[in-house]
């Protein structure tokens, strides 16, 4: 029987990973290359790399001339960062309470908070809209931040409480004996130790929020509060679609989320592999 050498095994593993990477990145690649081509070239040869002949920045100039585009960007940033902040803050606090304190109904409370993972928040859209209308929050970024915070919390609580259970009891107890308040223990001892988990939660929370079209369309469609995903839709018409502009807008929309991802990714990799190798 032929034994597999480590070399052949490593080639096989890399082949699988490279194949997966190519498949995953291909749509992004196509969007980016086509955003730099003229309209005719996009339709003539969608998979071709831009050449001096076909190179055209018309998409980008259209998008940037559409004066509100930076506003859309800013709106998306505010909504994503705001929601992320609240999800991480409240999620971590709830997770700490669930993992640290023994109280009646602890398990039930944990299950209740995790239930949101299984029930899509969009089922409640009508009720949410009624609520926002009643409270006068329609067409505000606050409405979006509130909804996304609710949407992100279940997963955050679920993941973080598992990680917080692993934080050494001795360390927290040492803090208590030294007279630290529970808040100091939470912020200065526990949070830094679950940083990889926080990064994981941040990425999983951030991407759906940045990409969401549904809630901005329903809760905040006004011009001054449009998010980038919604803003890009102006180029998609019922009869004519300005593909150059759409592709350019989408390419631009990738940048900020990519930056945020790079910031978190170092922590994220540690988070995913935590406990795998000890």
């Amino acid at each position: 029987m032929a034994t597999r050498t480590p070399l052949s095994r490593s080639i096989a593993a890399h082949a699988v990973l490279i194949a997966y990477t190519v498949i995953a990145l291909f749509p992004v690649f196509v969007i980016v290359i086509n955003s730099f081509k003229s309209r005719r070239a996009i339709f003539a040869e969608p998979l071709a790399i831009p050449t001096p002949d076909t190179f055209d920045l018309v998409g980008y100039t259209t998008v940037l001339k559409q004066g509100d585009f930076f506003q859309y960007f800013q709106n998306s940033m505010v909504v994503t960062c705001g929601s992320l902040f609240f999800v991480l803050l409240f999620g971590a606090m709830a997770a700490f309470a669930l993992s640290e304190y023994r109280f009646r109904g602890n398990t039930l409370m944990g299950l209740y908070l995790a239930l949101g993972i299984m029930i899509p928040i969009r089922l409640g859209t009508v009720a949410i809209l009624q609520m926002m209308v009643a409270s006068g929050l329609v067409n505000t970024l606050t409405a979006l931040v509130l909804v996304y915070t609710a949407q992100g919390l279940p997963l955050a609580v679920f993941i973080l409480s598992e990680f917080m259970k692993q934080v050494s009891d001795d360390l927290k107890n040492a803090g208590r004996i030294d007279g630290l308040s529970e808040y100091r223990i939470f912020f200065t001892l526990v949070l830094p130790l679950v940083r990889p988990a926080m990064a994981t939660v941040a990425v999983f929370t951030m991407i759906p929020i940045w990409n969401d079209l549904w809630f901005p369309l329903i809760l905040a469609p006004a011009e001054e509060v449009k998010t980038i995903t919604l803003g890009s839709q102006v180029f998609i018409g019922q009869f004519v679609t300005n593909w150059n502009a759409v592709l350019a807008a989408l390419s631009l929309a990738i940048v900020p989320v990519l930056v945020l991802y790079l910031i978190f990714s170092r922590q994220l990799i540690r988070g995913i592999t935590a406990g795998a190798v000890k």
């Binding site: 001795d170 040492a174 004996i177 130790l193």
Partner: protein, 332 residues
Amino acid sequence: MAALTLVNVTKSFGKTDVIKGVDLEVQTGEFCVFVGPSGCGKSTLLRMIAGLEDVSSGEVMINGARVNDVAPAKREIAMVFQSYALYPHLTVRDNMGLALKQAGQSKAAVAKSVDHAAAMLALEPLLARRPSELSGGQRQRVAIGRAIVRTPKLFLFDEPLSNLDAALRVATRIEIAKLHRDLDATMIYVTHDQIEAMTLADRIVVLRDGRVEQVGAPMDLYNDPDNTFVAGFIGSPMMNFLHAGALGMRSATMGVRPEHLAISRTAGQIEGTVSHVEKLGGETLVYINTATQGLLTVRLFGEHDYRVDETVQLTPEAARAFHFDAAGLRLR
């Protein structure tokens, strides 16, 4: 005066009783060791004294004042943990000074106390480092230093040597004993290692299943155990328990320490074959399989040559034997 008094203290988690009524008095300046197998409740009892666990019923008193409802930080105690539990984001100096800083002492006073404690433990060169830059032994010395800085009424140690390797364990053990003499402080020390208990303690509390089995000075427990559990737990290698009936005694069980079992190739009361020999240089341990009494251990001083499968005769030293009734209680 009693530094610590426990009056019928109990602890239950739901329906499970972990501590089933402990009464204890620890005198000021005493080194008291809680010892017992894992799961006997010794660490829980220590955490109750520290205030990290609520007391289900009974009273905990430190220096005569009831502290059941006093927060850990206000009990004037210091605790050293098995996993060191140093704050990873603080330097050694800040780790040691944190409690005093929290208590509102001035910077100069904190620095003075930290320097004093660091000098006692030779930690001065490490003061600027972070815990991640220290070895295990150094971390535990810092943890002990952090306890000293507070000048507490009560030092609590929760298996502080368990994470150290054998050589460091002995060195740190000696350091703790010296510290106890120098500080003249009251210390309560939890361990599952009876050697640590024997070498450090003024008084040992043997715990089993949440109950106190016996309290006494190390040699009192060794020479005068109340029951088979204490007799078996204190002393290494473990005491041999013989079926006394087979030897014509009235008691149910006869306990004989390995050094009080005479071995001979010619004549004796119990016949057996050697199953294993451990030569340690200063002493030789011979394990003998017997038909009537099971596996017995003999401890010989110096070097001896016994071969595996050799047939030998054993004779217990009757005057040094302990007798127990069927329930395991000592017959005196």
